[in-house]
Amino acid sequence: MEKFLKQTWWKILAIAFLLYAIIGGLLVPLAGTGSGLAFPNMPILNESIRNLLYHVPMWFSMVVLLLISFVYSLKYLSNSNPIFDNYANTFAQVGVFFGALGIFTGMLWAKSTWGAFWTNDPKLNGAAIGMLIYIAYLILRSTIEDEVKRGKIAASYNIFAFIMYLAFIFVIPRLTDSLHPGNGGNPAFSSYDLDNTLRLFFYPATIAWILLSLWIAGILSRINALNIKLDEKGE
């Protein structure tokens, strides 16, 4: 992980794919307004279908970051290495940040398509609960002084938290009625994307945002690691 975070190639890839997603995502016309490449033209959604490339990857990034945090919490439980604890903590923090971006962008999109910033919907409420679960993790960490104790308790909580998080945002919304695409009996956008044009942009966009989120998490974890090293050397 340490070596990977310092490499450059995937950061350039991230920016390249991001430019592709933004430029292409905004330039490709909706179907019916000319020939060639086009995005599906859905009633009510109209141009905002482009948000598939910007709102959805925020959540994929959050899941990837929280997965990494979960893995390092597992590793910490078997080997109390402060490096593992640092990764678990930092990736959870940046995960919460991307979740916040996902929620705010989702609220704006909801206002323009459903007429309200928030609805009483299992996916939305599940996402909010998922955020609260991880905010609770961060608060839990701040209440414990002793490093090893903090690491162990936080790691145990993280295992539980990640599983609950997946249940709240993926499992439960699919079991009941929902307004949100892909849940509660609604088709996901892939069923409108009959010629796969959306996918042509969605896959690179998701990769780009995930890599960007890893970059940000990497920078923060390297800053935290340096502070930890300085603490150990004592001053």
Binding site: S48, N51, T105, L108, T113, G115, I216, E235
Partner: protein, 66 residues
Amino acid sequence: MLAFSFIFSSLSSFAQEPSAYEISLIKSNKMIAVIGVLVIILIGIALYLFSLERKLKKLEERIDSK
């Protein structure tokens, strides 16, 4: 326009005739939603980068003072 007429032909989702607000919501092309999403993401990342900058500066000061 075609899409707009499709919605009105399947009006069962509305309990009564759509209000002026609902009509404008359906008719508007929603590009502002896309721009708004991108602005939120950009401002969010910008704020986060500034916060990272501050942490890095503090770290550099800490090392310099040793």
